[in-house]
């Protein structure tokens, strides 16, 4: 792909929590303009860690991060990154800290230097876009789980990002809300990295899926989501396939 369209370029990123085993081991990952990448892998394989490294919330022990063509290292480099890349957290309670919905959605735009009126308008639009018109005055902690997720999605969209990092955005949601989130994602004109345990969901929402295990991520163009028919023992039991171990064992 063309070098200019490269949005995120991680090379040889390693990371370990203090006193722990390495979680990421020389990982390479590229995200191009308009691309939608899924990430799947067992618990603790470093998917969330990887997203946090892209946002500058965690510092890799080694490796190079290049975002929008610039190497980012220091906290101040990540200022622009956070403006152009939006991270949707796993737990909506982490993301919503203002007393009311409108204030929470307007928090980002206000930080970006918008006036009160502009921020209010952007927030209203983001809420409207997600079908949350009229939620502005609701008290955040009184929202249901699904509503919290949608509102935290609105807080991310209100930053008007070019790229989304989605950390298990549908975990814990009922089917209807999950469908709503997926439909919204498919309708967006944004590049994103989508972390999930649900391979069906990734096949529906992404162009290619990377598999994370043992500190590595393997995305190769040969491994694109596809359906196939084959024969194997225990085939009568309900089962699923993923791209690699542990799901592949059969």
């Amino acid at each position: 792909m063309d070098k200019n369209s490269l949005i995120i370029n991680l090379s040889d990123i390693s990371f370990a929590y203090p006193g722990g085993a390495p979680i990421l081991d020389k990982i390479n990952l590229e995200l191009h303009q308009g691309e939608r990448v899924g990430l799947i892998g067992p618990n603790g394989s470093g998917k969330t860690t990887l997203l946090h490294i892209i946002m500058g919330l965690l510092k890799p022990s080694s490796g190079n991060i290049e975002i929008f063509g610039k190497t980012v290292k220091q906290e101040k480099d990540f200022g622009t990154v956070r403006q152009r890349i939006g991270l949707l957290f796993q737990d909506a309670d982490d993301q919503l800290f203002n007393p009311t919905v409108l204030e929470d959605v307007a928090f980002g735009p206000l930080n970006l230097g918008k006036s009160q009126d502009e921020a209010r308008e952007i927030a209203q639009k983001a809420l409207e876009f997600l079908g949350l018109t009229g939620f502005g005055d609701r008290v955040t902690y009184k929202l249901s789980g699904g509503e919290k997720k949608l509102v935290s999605f609105a807080t991310v969209l209100a930053m008007e990002p070019e790229v989304l990092l989605l950390d298990e955005p549908t975990t814990g949601l009922d089917e209807a809300t999950e469908k709503r989130v997926v439909d919204i994602l498919k309708g967006l004109d944004l590049s994103y990295i989508f972390v999930s345990h649900n391979i069906d969901l990734l096949m529906e929402t992404t162009h290619r899926v990377g598999y994370m295990i043992n500190g590595k991520v393997s995305i190769d163009e040969g491994r694109v989501p596809h359906t196939h028919v084959h024969v194997h023992e225990y085939g009568r039991h309900t089962h699923k396939h993923a791209l690699n171990w542990p799901y592949k064992k059969h």
Binding site: H52, L57, R82, D93, F97, E103, F107, M159
Partner: protein, 252 residues
């Protein structure tokens, strides 16, 4: 946790500008707290009562506020009269109650109930988030305002975490008793809550950073004072001034 049912009402006390309410409640509380003449305290109690009537505080909500305070005061009534030196008033067995002791206990009872009355009428009639914004408008340092907001927002989350832990203990047959196992378990529970809160705080802060937080908070709220707010403020300041005059001058 914080229910805020009463805050949804529609009395005069509900409609007043929250800044006016905060100023009045604060000045009233301070004035009453430092007064010690019946001449000032009895009117203060009457004012507290009037506020409660004006705000149409439901009796249940009123009791919710007053009962805990007065339980504490009952204990004072057990000790103060008998431990304060002065002129003997009556005897209970070997214990002597003094006039000064009884006087002090009465004083504290009146003060507490007057202040609670006004606080319930003015502060409990305001949604917590509005209170925070009003504090911000009154130029209270933004760190304090945001501590207030965060406490309000996350006390529910922490409470939910607490309930989850308690349930996890219950389903494994934990029954509190007077033994080391109980104390240790409860200590773990508290410790775990601290750790979880700390981790939560880190995640919240990270989420704020991701949305461009640079240490400054902005507010979307705007309040405007109406005539009724000015009139109420002036009237109530005059009443508080009246209390102060009754307390500190010897006009009566």
């Amino acid at each position: 946790m914080i229910e805020e049912k009463f805050a949804a009402g529609d009395s005069l006390a509900h409609r007043l500008d929250p800044r006016v309410k905060i100023i009045v409640a604060t000045l009233f509380s301070i004035t009453v707290a430092v007064s010690d003449r019946f001449l000032a305290l009895l009117p203060a109690l009457a004012i507290g009562f009037i506020f409660v009537l004006v705000a149409a505080v439901p009796i249940k909500r009123l009791l919710q506020g007053l009962v805990p305070v007065n339980l504490l005061i009952i204990f004072l009534w057990f000790f103060l009269p008998f431990t304060f030196g002065g002129e003997p008033l009556f005897r209970v067995g070997p214990l002597v109650a003094t006039r000064e002791g009884v006087w002090h206990a009465t004083e504290i009872t009146i003060k507490s109930n007057a202040i609670m009355g006004v606080l319930i009428a003015l502060v409990a009639s305001t949604p917590v988030s509005t209170l925070g914004h009003a504090m911000h408008e009154l130029r209270i340092p933004s760190k304090i305002v945001h501590l207030f907001f965060f406490t309000y927002r996350y006390i529910h989350v922490i409470n939910r975490e607490y309930l989850r832990l308690v349930n996890a203990m219950k389903i494994r047959g934990f029954r509190p008793g007077t033994n080391i196992h109980t104390y240790r378990t409860l200590a773990y529970l508290v410790g775990m809550l601290f750790v979880k809160s700390h981790e939560r705080a880190e995640r919240v802060y990270n989420a704020m950073l991701c949305r461009g937080f640079r240490g400054r908070f902005y507010s979307l709220n705007q309040f405007s004072l109406r005539t009724i707010d000015y009139v109420s403020l002036i009237l109530m300041l005059a009443v508080i001034l009246g209390l102060a005059v009754l307390e500190w001058t010897r006009i009566a």
